[in-house]
Symmetry: C2
Subunit: 340 residues, 2 copies
DNA sequence: CTGTTAGCGCCTTCAT
DNA sequence: ATGAAGGCGCTAACAG
């Protein structure tokens, strides 16, 4: 029923080797022969077996997408972009989520599930421990990181430190002096983690301006609920806060919710800035440092494909972030604060 | 370097056949032998080649996830749920996006890319033409639909008609008499498309109550920008509209934006209800018919795995939707309308 | 430019 | 319960 390469070979009156070469566009095949083979393959509805091709060639035309989540803005957009770039080159995208649940620390990335199954690996937004990177490298295949690099690895992303500094600068320029930071999980401590770098940028910009940062950083889950909880904790401690820089738009929205919970107006009482450029940020008029996640996915996938063919690629591609002022920031007012 | 089954066989002092049986948990292997084989495999760091296994067995332990997008609430959550359910059973998830871009009609689903590559197919939120379903069935593999069924196919989803009716009933009960509907693309016309069924439910509930529907339906893209544009078009035509039922939360958020654009308050001037239970709906206090997309993904994946093993599964699994009142609905006020 | 011939690494009868 | 051996369908030398 399902025709194989031998059927095509017979129908075209050539050997299977020629069929293989003709169909894959390899050189050393007459245009006429190639055409004849193509026609025969078409008529028989021939589709090569990927397993057989992989087994024989050692290549899978598949890349592994490693990510903690897919249902988050940055991740979904990177994955969508990457998958489409891969599809154009007839590569398949295998999805591996290493769930970072709120309950427990994620399980370690296990390279065995990828072994002999992919030609390359794209790590999306997952800051890996040094030894995890090492075991991934042990696969002997190209590795590209998006949205969370690793030392010495090819990466695509934004300048998290500069992004954070720009956001904080915007708030400080408005006159704010108590600028808090809603950051990620407390156990997210790797120096190359975006959350850590954004916190670092926040601290650096404050320091550069002689503003305090001590006691103004709160940690929590990297989503709406996390941002909301963190902000409540922050305001309990520091009701004198007049501005919040959140490490993602999702957390920033949580911050807005928390402020609303407490009857505080944005930006009347407290200004808020996020990072991402989430489509829905427009609703709340959320000011943000926007980035293009989709294109980062496309770029990372393309680089990975280049590496697979042995072509040289830059060690790092840095995407720009741009301040989009949608109104959630304003000069501080002289709110009466009961206590600190 | 990479050890094969023969290495394990030699190390364990058995044949490759026994290794294969032992490692896959097949019967007819002494507990002692199995243990010895396991230990040998462990020590050698043996990982079977999926290509070789597929070629020999005809099974791939991979399922194909067909979806128009991943960066949309429903899709991202279903995919995330499905991938995790598959991973538990050591199945891989291959991602295939058939981009429904706003510019042009999507390309038809091409089963060839799936041929000999997957053991089953999960179609996520993509209403397929009858003949597309037929060609997919031609793969001879189990097929499950989530969030957009197809006649005679196994499906997981919600009761779209009832969901829409419930939403409209809520608005009508509040006293609204001009209840508009923000629907999906105009060329999304398959009777089993969620958008079509929701519109149908909206119309049915209005009819049941003797309320008009003519001229109150607008079509557009299934996202925030689409909902916003549609709502503007609607209000241009029918400024007397006091309530809007949008076919998704994303579009409902667009509707809220449009209303805000025109200086109308929600729910003061116009009430809005969406569908999904989007995490961010809470911000705008968006009332919605909530559904659990993640669990639909888990269920669909589990059913597909059952079908692969030949187990019987129900023809349809219907998930509940529940009205979550977050405040974007209220009784209509007597707004002065200049003209209709 | 094309054909021949070994494998690729595992699964699966069929014996034993 | 275990072993022997023939594929699975294709690619990649190597000839010619």
């Amino acid at each position: 029923m399902a025709h194989g390469i031998v059927d095509v070979a017979r129908a075209a009156g050539v050997s299977t080797a020629t069929v293989s070469r003709a169909l894959r566009g390899l050189p050393n095949v007459t245009a006429a022969t190639r055409e004849r083979v193509r026609r025969a393959a078409d008529e028989l509805g021939y589709v090569p077996s990927p397993s057989a091709a992989s087994l024989a060639s050692g290549r899978t035309r598949t890349i592994g997408l490693i990510t903690p989540w897919v249902a988050h803005w940055f991740f979904a957009n990177v994955i969508e972009g990457a998958e489409r770039a891969l599809r154009v080159e007839d590569f398949d995208a295998l999805l591996y989520t290493f769930d970072v649940t709120r309950e427990r620390r994620r399980r370690r990335v296990d390279p065995d599930v990828l072994r002999r199954r992919v030609d390359g690996v794209l790590v999306v937004g997952l800051p890996l421990e040094a030894d995890e990177v090492e075991t991934l490298e042990g696969l002997g295949q190209p590795l590209v990181f998006v949205g969370a690099g690793a030392p010495g690895q090819v990466g695509v992303g934004v300048d998290d430190v500069a992004t954070a500094r720009r956001a904080v600068a915007h708030l400080a320029d408005l006159g704010h002096r108590v600028i808090a930071h809603v950051s990620g999980e407390p156990d997210d401590v790797l120096p190359w983690s975006p959350a850590v770098r954004r916190a670092q940028g926040w601290r650096a910009e404050l320091a550069a301006r002689g503003l305090p940062s001590a006691g103004l950083e709160v940690h929590g889950h990297f989503d709406v609920a996390g941002g909301r909880a963190s902000t409540h904790a922050l305001l309990d401690r520091r009701p004198d806060t007049t501005a919040v820089f959140a490490a993602s738009d999702e957390m920033a929205m949580g911050a807005v919710l928390a402020l609303r919970d407490r009857g505080l107006r944005v930006p009347g009482d407290v200004s808020v800035v996020g990072v991402d450029g989430h489509e829905m940020g427009e609703h709340l008029g959320l000011t943000t440092m926007a980035q293009n996640a989709h294109d980062q996915g496309v770029t990372a996938a393309s680089m990975l494909l280049e590496m697979i063919t042995g072509a040289p690629v830059p060690a790092d591609v840095v995407f720009p972030t741009v301040l989009v002022d949608r109104g959630s920031t304003a000069p501080p007012c002289d709110r009466i604060v009961t206590s600190a």
